[in-house]
């Protein structure tokens, strides 16, 4: 039975030794040491077989074969591993050459900003609404508490298609359409193209993206508006971002505010983008004017609401450091690819 023990020792030691081998030459040396026909340890054990009683020979022989098979498999597996480890070089491949890639697509930078804004407001209970780009002057102005002879409705700034029909100058007509079609609670986000009669230059485009929000319910307040936009700013621009409300004027909200956010380029220290103030004007906001509720048949005593609007294109310019708005509309692939 000593031979059985010797065989077990051989298998155990062989198993340990195989695991430590680092190259093919060492592995071959190990194979010779273990299983070599002349000097190998297994051969040495088998040589003692002749001296055993005949009835023991088959038992030991079978055990020896099993150990031989096991060690052979271990050696082959390890050989394959070593082959794989050094295989590339062995096959003549220069693995420093670049791999095969697919074309990379990209969303437009304005879409990226719209997506981010949408994601934040989604989590604040908002859904998305849409409306036509060609509107009537009633939807674009009158229903929004802007009489047609008001300076805010200046035709010089608006593209007309026919008398009373125009290209919307803001996404706010969709507020009206949404309130006409639904009852509160309303929390909608309205992205879309708007048009103004500005010649195409580095900072103006006759058509550009706007995104607008509207919330209407019982008991909604100006403080809620401020809290919501402060939360939005933190989520979009980072936890340190703060907002500042400044009094302003929009015919369809009252009170109205320009909303500044701490400059996300200089960390509110003051830079050329924020004109040294540390603040960036990013949107307008305010409480829905009672006249707007009256235009859609809501009872202004019962419902209150707020709205805000911003230009994702402008935010994209600031955020990505794009110097000229025309880059957004040229579709130069060298530009678009940067957003992949």
């Amino acid at each position: 039975m000593d031979l059985i023990q010797e065989l077990e020792t051989l298998e155990r030691e062989g198993r340990e030794a195989v695991g430590t081998v680092r190259d093919a030459d060492a592995l071959e040396a190990l194979r010779v040491r273990l299983l070599g026909r002349k000097e190998g340890r297994l051969t040495a054990i088998l040589r003692q077989l002749a001296q055993l009683p005949p009835e023991q020979k088959p038992v030991i022989g079978a055990a020896a074969n099993r150990v031989k098979d096991a060690l052979t498999e271990l050696l082959e597996t390890r050989a394959a591993e070593l082959e794989a480890e050094s295989g590339g070089a062995a096959a003549g491949l220069d693995l420093t050459l670049p791999g095969r890639t697919a074309w990379r697509g990209a969303r437009h930078p304005v879409t990226l900003v719209v997506d981010e804004i949408t994601a934040v407001f989604r989590s604040l209970g908002f859904t998305r609404a849409r409306g036509p780009e060609a509107e009537t002057d009633w939807y674009n102005f009158v229903s929004l508490n802007t009489p047609l002879d008001h300076p805010a409705a200046d035709a010089a700034d608006t593209f007309y298609l026919s008398p009373g029909v125009l290209l919307r100058s803001h996404t706010s007509p969709v507020q009206i359409r949404t309130m006409q079609a639904f009852q509160p609670p309303i929390r909608v986000l309205i992205p879309g193209m708007v048009y103004r009669r500005d010649p195409f230059d580095a900072s103006h485009a006759p058509g550009f993206e706007q995104i607008e929000g509207l919330a209407v319910d019982e008991g909604i307040t100006f403080a809620d508006l401020k809290a919501t936009l402060a939360e939005f700013a933190r989520r979009l621009f980072g936890p340190a971002a703060k907002v500042r409300f400044r009094p302003s004027f929009f015919p369809f909200t009252e009170p109205s505010a320009e909303v500044d956010v701490t400059c996300f380029l200089c960390g509110a220290k003051g830079c050329s983008a924020c004109k040294g103030t540390g603040w960036m004007e990013i949107m307008g906001a305010g409480m829905v004017d009672p006249a707007v509720f009256e235009a859609v048949g809501y009872d202004p005593e019962r419902w209150t609401g707020w709205a805000f609007g911003m230009g994702p294109g402008r935010i994209a310019l600031l955020r990505y450091g794009i110097p000229d708005i025309r880059l957004l509309y040229e579709s130069d692939t060298r530009f678009l690819q940067q957003f992949a």
């Binding site: 050459l97 670049p98 095969r100 697919a102 074309w103 990379r104 990209a106 969303r107 879409t111 859904t127 998305r128 849409r130 036509p132 780009e133 060609a134 002879d149 300076p151 035709a155 010089a156 593209f159 007309y160 298609l161 026919s162 008398p163 009373g164 949404t178 639904f182 609670p185 309303i186 929390r187 909608v188 193209m193 048009y195 010649p199 006759p206 058509g207 319910d217 008991g219 909604i220 307040t221 100006f222 403080a223 809620d224 401020k226 809290a227 500042r244 409300f245 400044r246 009094p247 302003s248 004027f249 015919p251 009252e254 009170p255 209150t304 040229e330 579709s331 130069d332 692939t333 060298r334």
Partner: protein
């Protein structure tokens, strides 16, 4: 609106906020400054200096050698070339190292052998005037070494304010003063007009006692008759006659004020009216009384065909809906917009009629637009002029004229006032303010917030406070909501809490197209396409809906399709050497609607791509996109958007595409297609010679499957399949789709899938024929098929292929 810091200080005694802090304060009032310009900045290096002694330069006749006290504690040698330099006089002085407004730096120098440590300056060298007769001698009490800009009052700042359309009151210094004075309106004081010389002081004192003669539609006083024929467009007109003025330059203090806000001084009469316009916000006009025919003012509508020449020398054609100021015979001013040239104050003017009027904002706006003429006056009238400030403005202008141009005012202000102003009274319920604003503000606090802005608390009406609105806010504050805004503003927007409260989620469902757009963008970006955004504006050739006021002919229509614009973007890229272009766009297209109504709109998706199918890799030569890339992508998108549409039909009908190299999916709403794609017709593309074919497609999202369809589960097969390859010889005239359809029909229910996997044409195959190899996969859901069953099915297929299509096995 340009505001001078010093001017503001003259109205708010004790105003000591530094300019930057004031700008911040104004921003928080709702009047942010686009710019704050330090007017003295270019002259910051200039000092006051006294010439102690001036003698002739020993080596140059035209130069003087001066000993100058510039407050440095020692006398400086300065060489001066001006003929008027003299000992004992005081001048602006640029010491060595100083920079002049033009950017020139003064250096210590030797001039003809004598050292010069600076320069005594002329007005021209300081950018203060054209006078180059000599250096600028200063008259008054000056201390050498002092800052020149401070000593002469040039240390002012111009605030370029951005005033919103609802705040015409802020288009004047007094309006801004009311906002920033700690005590509000009560803290604003008009500095009295002072006159030098006995005659002028006396005329001023006499005028201060002048009475107001108020009449309703027409009246006469002191030889002038004024009548208002359209009370709606002109509710009030005050006229004052001043006789015996001497037209000349305005005094320096007044000119300085106007220059500080970027206005050019003209003469003492015009400058006085301009001063009051910017101080009090009331437009005024001075007529040369001698040039008014009939000593009469008629405020009336223009007669048909009437015209006049305005101050700017332009002839203006007037229409009957325009209001004019006329004398007995003809228009002498376009009311509220611009005066006429013929009656303008000139150097020889002796007697003046001063107009201080109120006009309807809408009327002025229409006239301004019709004439394309915007002035400081029309800008303010359009937005609303304070009806309660008129008499004060008229009196102040007369006083300024008397003080600066002399003369004597008639002791009557003729005040024609057919529509007396009635101040709005607005209610304010404290509970409502809290309901809207979200903070509790007591009645006392509300009153104390509104009172300084000029809102006078009247007796309360039950729970509602009531406030009388001052004239300067009468245009924008008439309702409770307006007062609530004033409360919030005065309380301070920054004092509102920012704590999020619970909210109810939206009752409005997500718009399905918005969801669809998201899915399409993800899909196409994953396929390596770049999202493009263009505008809806197109040229005449590419749109059917015209703009009535386009900016250019290239943007005179609304686009009828997306692909043409996207192809232009491909052209743009090719022109810049970008060979591999893969663009998509989701956007709106327009078609004519009912006459006078909105056009029809649809959201479309378009793709355009050209160049290499795969990103470049060293292992293979680039392969260009071909029609199979187009067809595959189009089919995928159609399967997503129009799952019921079936196969793509070969051929297109769009002139933008090559008819034979494209596909379309017919529409069931009468339009030509819901999806189409193919090779963009090369004739219509401006591309360099090296460019390959451009592939394009468009899909309408309007009729598309807007929500992802219900995806049902089908049993995953458990039985083995048998695959069978068939190489078929098919005549070119027989479409593969027919072969495939026949295989499906003939093979029976156990055929799971059939697809071509090879196409061969060439040696061994007859001309006009190609070999297509199909792989057929058979499977029964419930048992293992036998080879014999499959063989029988294949025999059926081959038999019918031969009989019906003449197709044989290769």
């Amino acid at each position: 609106m340009d505001i001078s810091y010093r001017w503001l200080q003259s109205l708010v005694p004790g105003l000591d906020l530094p300019p930057e802090a004031l700008a911040e304060r104004l921003a928080m009032c709702g009047a942010p400054a686009d710019a704050v310009i330090a007017l003295g900045e270019p002259l910051r290096d200039i000092r006051i200096a006294r010439v102690i002694e001036a003698r002739r330069h020993p080596n140059a006749d035209r130069l003087s050698l001066c000993r100058v006290d510039a407050g440095t504690g020692e006398l400086l040698n300065v060489v001066c070339g001006a003929p008027n330099v003299r000992g004992g006089a005081t001048y602006p002085f640029a010491p060595a190292g100083a920079t002049l407004p033009g950017g020139m730096v003064i250096k210590r120098a030797k001039i003809r052998g004598e050292e010069s440590n600076g320069m005594l300056c002329s007005a021209r060298e300081l950018g203060l005037g054209r006078d180059h007769e000599g250096i600028l001698e200063l008259h008054g009490d000056f201390t050498p070494g002092d800052s020149f800009i401070e000593a002469v009052g040039l240390d002012d700042w111009r605030f370029v304010l951005d005033i919103t359309a609802n705040r015409p009151d802020l288009l004047s210094h007094i309006g801004v003063a009311r906002e920033i004075a700690p005590a509000g309106d009560a803290g604003v004081v008009l500095p009295p007009v002072a006159a030098t010389g006995d005659g002028r002081a006396q005329a001023l004192a006499q005028f201060r006692a002048a009475r107001v003669h108020r009449v309703s539609d027409a009246g006469e006083a002191e030889g002038i008759r004024i009548s208002i024929e359209d009370a709606e467009k002109c509710p009030r007109y005050i006229g004052v006659v001043i006789r015996g003025v001497t037209v000349g330059p305005a005094p320096e203090w007044l000119a300085t004020r106007l220059r500080a806000i970027g206005q050019r001084p003209i003469n003492n009469i015009v400058d006085a009216t301009n001063f009051v316009l910017h101080e009090l916000g009331q437009p005024l006009h001075a007529f040369d009384l001698a040039r008014l025919r009939g000593s009469e003012i008629r405020v009336r509508r223009a007669a048909p065909g009437e015209s006049m020449v305005t101050l700017d020398g332009e002839k203006r054609d007037l229409s009957p809906d325009m209001l004019v100021i006329a004398d007995a015979e003809r228009p002498v001013a376009v009311a509220g917009v611009m005066g006429g040239q013929e009656s303008e104050v000139a150097d020889d003017t002796r007697d003046v009629l001063l107009e201080c009027a109120l006009f309807d904002p809408r009327s002025i706006r229409r006239t301004r637009r019709a004439l394309g003429l915007s002035t400081d006056a029309s800008y303010r009238y359009e937005r609303g002029v304070d009806p309660e400030g008129m008499e004060r403005a008229a009196r102040r202008a007369v006083e300024l004229i008397l003080a600066t141009a002399g003369g004597r005012a008639e002791p009557v202000l003729l005040d024609v006032n057919p529509r007396p102003f009635e101040a709005p009274v607005a209610p304010l319920r404290p509970a409502r303010a809290q309901h809207v604003l979200g903070v509790a503000l007591g009645a006392d606090l509300l009153v104390s917030l509104l009172q300084p802005l000029g809102f006078r608390a009247l007796a309360a009406d039950g729970d509602a406070l009531r406030f009388r609105v001052p004239g300067w806010r009468a245009y924008d504050v008439t309702r409770e909501a307006d007062l609530i805004e004033e409360v919030a503003r005065r309380y301070g927007y920054d004092r509102f809490p920012e704590e999020l409260r619970p909210f109810r989620p939206s009752a409005v469902p997500d718009h399905p197209v918005a969801i669809l757009e998201d899915r399409l963008r993800s899909l196409l970006v994953g396929r390596g396409l770049l999202e493009s955004r263009t505008m809806g504006l197109a040229s005449e050739a590419e749109g059917d809906v015209a703009l009535t006021n386009p900016l250019s002919s290239a943007e005179s229509r609304l686009r009828r399709a997306l692909l043409p614009g996207l192809v232009h973007r491909v052209e743009y890229n090719l022109a810049r050497g970008n060979r591999d272009v893969r663009l998509f766009e989701i956007g709106t297209v327009f078609a004519p609607g009912e006459p006078g109504a909105q056009p029809l709109e649809e959201t479309w998706l378009a793709l355009a791509f050209t160049g290499a199918r795969h990103a470049p890799h060293w292992s293979a030569a680039p392969e260009p996109y071909d029609i199979w890339d187009l067809k595959g992508l189009l089919a995928d998108l159609v399967a997503l958007l129009y799952p019921a549409a079936g196969v793509l039909e070969p051929g297109t009908h769009d002139p933008l595409l090559v008819p034979a190299l494209g596909f379309h999916v017919p529409a069931d709403d009468g339009s030509a297609w819901v999806a189409q794609g193919g090779q963009v017709a090369p004739g219509g593309v401006d591309a360099p010679a090296w460019a390959g074919p451009i592939w394009g497609m468009e899909l309408r999202l309007a009729g598309a499957e807007l929500a992802p369809g219900a995806r049902g589960y089908r049993v995953v097969p458990t039985q083995p399949a048998i695959e069978w390859d068939l190489a078929l010889l098919i005549a070119d005239a027989v479409p593969a789709a027919r072969v495939e359809a026949l295989i499906v029909d003939a093979a029976g229910a156990s055929l799971e899938r059939v697809a071509p996997f090879d196409l061969y044409r060439g040696p061994g195959i007859a001309e006009g024929t190609r070999s297509i190899a199909y792989r057929l996969r058979f499977r029964a859901p419930d048992r293992t098929l036998t080879d014999a069953e499959v063989e029988r099915a294949v025999e059926r297929v081959l038999r019918r292929l031969k009989e019906e299509l003449g197709v044989e096995r290769r």
